[in-house]
């Protein structure tokens, strides 16, 4: 009756279940995902790859994870195309917004990509502490690297003497952008001079836009950082980054209040500021009549001016954020994209070595919207990026973006504080007090 059929079913079922479990997923092997213990040596050694480490065809693959998507991803792929062609290594790039989630679960479970874009020096230090990051001193030619790279970047990638991260590209923050037809005067020497300039022909002096999905608020943090550095100097700035300068201290409060003045003289008011994606923030510069005269943004905003604002490169120009306290003249803030290595394999070594070369970084620079921390990269596609790069290299006082350096909880609270402050400036006391509270727990071990 039914019995023989069921027995046949059971047998074939068991068989296929077994087969399925064994065959697993795809046909090709998973990239080296060692079961590295959390606090042991970083990553397991990867799969086979015979041949020399640096040159010639190696073959195999290397997994990379980062936040870059869309056109950034294209730029990255253009950057590594020569590498893939020469070495025969396939670079498998995955872009995701949830980088932190992947890396946190990865470090806790041992399933990690070979190379990864790191969210920032703060997180990098976390991972290095847990022993998850490979010591790049054993991978790169450290002398060559140190010689070629701006010292600030070398230092930022070093945790307790171990080189854990390198910057693939960088940007300068805090340029003041304007439409060349609307503002024809000289670059003001000080902040006071800048604020004293008349608004017309625009309604407001400033355009500010802070919307950026999960990271909404970050353009405001750039403003505050520029103020802190120029009002109170690098020592205060460094202490602030290290969690030793209270947010309620007069120095930091002063920076917020200065930003508040800017907001009060901004196109569209708080609603506009909070709702407009940062990339569109500069659009009113180019309108007839212009909504604002000036826009404070990083060097990479140029592509947004063109795409979102419909401006041509000749239409806009910049001057660096003016000085406030003459003692701290020539200050500059900047940022960069940090990369680290989790698994030491011949392929990942080859890629890491390639990524720090001036040739590689030149590729992204040529595409636009990126600067390089590598001093040997000297050719920039247009005058504006040329000047930006020069500013970066020649800055008297250079500091990395403070919020990127802070622990993530502090960073998030900072972004949130900007949003709250723009919405209700009267709440400044409460906002700063809460930031202090977050500071206490975020920096605690």
């Amino acid at each position: 009756m039914r019995v023989p059929r069921s027995r046949w079913l059971a047998l074939s079922a068991a068989g296929s279940l077994l087969a399925a479990a064994c065959a697993g997923g795809s046909a090709t092997p998973v990239p080296p995902a060692g079961s590295a213990p959390v606090d042991g040596s970083p990553g397991a050694s990867g799969p086979t790859a015979s041949g020399p480490a640096a040159t010639g065809a190696i073959g195999g693959s290397v997994s990379v994870i980062g936040t870059w998507g869309g056109d950034e991803e294209e730029a990255f792929r253009a950057m590594i195309a020569p590498f893939e062609a020469e070495t025969g290594i396939t670079v498998e790039y995955t872009g995701t917004r949830d980088l932190n989630a992947v890396l946190t679960t990865g470090v806790a479970s041992g399933i990690l990509p070979d190379l990864a874009g790191l969210p920032g020096p703060g997180q990098m230090a976390e991972f290095a502490d847990r022993g998850a990051l490979v010591d790049l001193g054993t991978v790169l030619d450290v002398d060559e690297y140190t010689e070629q790279t701006a010292p600030a970047f070398v230092e930022l990638g070093t945790v307790e003497g171990q080189l854990s991260g390198v910057f693939i590209k960088s940007a300068v923050k805090g340029f003041i952008w304007y439409d060349v037809e609307q503002f024809t005067g000289e670059a003001p020497a000080t902040w006071e001079d800048l604020q004293a300039l008349p608004n017309d022909p625009a309604d407001s002096k400033w355009c500010v836009a802070v919307e950026s999905e999960a990271a909404s608020g970050w353009p405001g943090t750039d403003w505050i950082e520029d103020f802190v550095l120029r009002q109170s100097g690098p020592e205060v700035y460094d202490a602030w980054v290290a969690g030793e300068q209270a947010w309620t201290s007069p120095e930091i409060r002063g920076a917020f209040e200065a930003f508040g003045e800017v907001v009060a003289n901004s196109f569209g008011g708080p609603d506009y500021i909070l709702n407009t994606p940062f990339g569109e923030g500069g659009n009113p510069l180019f309108e007839e009549p212009p909504g604002c005269l000036f826009h404070h943004q990083a060097s990479f905003i140029t592509s947004f001016f063109q795409e979102q604002g419909g401006a041509a490169p000749e239409d806009y120009d910049f001057f660096p954020f003016p000085d406030i306290n003459p003692e701290f003249a020539g200050s500059l803030t900047g940022a960069g994209d940090l990369f680290g290595m989790f698994n030491d394999t011949p392929q990942s070594r080859a890629l890491m070595n390639y990524l720090v070369t001036p040739e590689a970084q030149q590729i992204w620079v040529d595409i636009g919207g990126a600067l390089s921390g590598n001093r040997e990269v000297t050719e920039y596609p247009d005058e504006i990026s040329q000047r930006s790069a020069e500013a970066l290299v020649n800055a008297e006082i250079f500091r990395f973006d403070a919020s990127d350096l802070m622990p993530e909880a502090m960073n998030n609270a900072f972004w949130s504080a900007i949003l709250q402050y723009v919405q209700t400036p009267g709440d400044l006391d409460r906002i700063l007090t809460e930031l202090d509270a977050t500071q206490e727990s975020a920096y605690a071990e």
């Binding site: 997923g25 795809s26 998973v30 995902a33 998507g69 869309g70 995701t96 479970s109 990339g279």
Partner: protein
């Protein structure tokens, strides 16, 4: 007590005078409710409009350039000059590896739908029609499990997958989706099966049928609406899932599903959103087909002569 339907959910068979009645209800029937007034039609149409509007807006924007979409509202595009473009769709469809990602999504979703449904069916039947100690307490625990936030299971489970070497493989996601989908599946099926008329099973027992027979020949066919609903929900949930695939398949590019690929159309600073509009529709097609395909099962609810005599 005439026609008091047994208090189950999605009750297909209702007893009247102790015998189940076959139901085939699909639309208005004669002599039933009064003919719907114009008012009701208006209300329904208004509601449909409200429900469709957001999606329609996106659909129209997907045919406009990024500049147009951010300059004026989508309804302006319905009047001349029409400035429609297929660029967004072209960009999405030309993405390298899109077809592979689509296939991967299928590879993930189909088994991840079938396995929990089957596993849950057996267990639900046991909860509904077998007696064992702590039955209700256990089931309540099952419901409680619905609340467990998925994010907190990621690290322990990934560790487990790492130990068995299946991280990055489809098997990992199948197992994970089964685990995550079981509480709801059990809840739904158990409630439905519990509402089936007990006479059916009683007479089957009298006839000497084993529980397995009763399950395969009675409970299962009668539970088709519930199983169909469950299959749809589970399929949609696994098809649209991002986080589970991201963590368990991760950077194993070979196996990445559509959701991962699509999310990456946007760069890290939010640029490229206009591509997401087209991508949303590209990924929506299959779930809609699945829904339309299975939805007729919702309508039926038949026992149809399962009880003899």
């Amino acid at each position: 007590m005439t026609g008091a339907g047994s208090p189950g959910t999605m009750v297909p068979p209702v007893t009247q005078g102790g015998r189940p009645i076959a139901q085939v209800r699909s639309g208005p029937q004669r002599g039933r409710a009064p003919r719907p007034r114009v008012m009701i039609h208006l209300v329904i149409l208004a509601m449909m409009a409200v429900w469709l509007l957001p999606t329609a807006g996106l659909l129209i924007n997907s045919f406009r350039t990024a500049a147009d979409s951010s300059a004026t509202g989508w309804w302006t595009a319905l009047l001349p000059p029409y400035q429609f473009t297929l660029d967004n769709y072209a960009a999405v469809l030309n993405q390298s590896g899109l077809a592979d990602a689509f296939i991967n999504s299928l590879f993930i979703s189909i088994p991840a739908t079938i396995i929990p449904v089957v596993v849950a069916a057996f267990a639900a039947y046991a909860f509904a029609w077998m007696d064992f100690p702590y039955k209700n307490a256990l089931f309540v625990v099952v419901i409680g499990l619905l609340v467990i936030p998925l994010q907190l299971t990621l690290i322990p489970v990934l560790r487990l997958f790492a130990t068995f070497g299946i991280a990055g493989e489809f098997l990992a996601v199948w197992l994970a989706h089964t685990g995550y989908g079981l509480p709801f599946a059990l809840y739904l099926l158990r409630n439905y099966m519990g509402g089936l008329p007990k006479e059916v099973f009683e007479s089957a027992a009298i006839d000497g049928a084993s529980p397995a027979t009763a399950f395969f020949r009675l409970a299962l066919p009668m539970s088709v609406p519930a199983i169909a609903s469950l299959a749809i929900f589970q399929f949609l949930w696994t098809w649209n899932d991002l986080l589970v695939s991201l963590i368990y398949i991760g950077f194993n590019i070979e196996n990445q599903p559509l959701t991962l690929k699509v999310a990456n159309l946007v760069n890290s600073q939010g640029g490229g959103i206009h591509l997401l509009t087209a991508a949303a529709f590209v990924t929506m097609i299959l779930p809609l087909i699945v829904f339309f395909g299975l939805q007729r099962f919702f309508v039926r609810g038949i026992t149809g002569g399962a009880v003899k005599g």
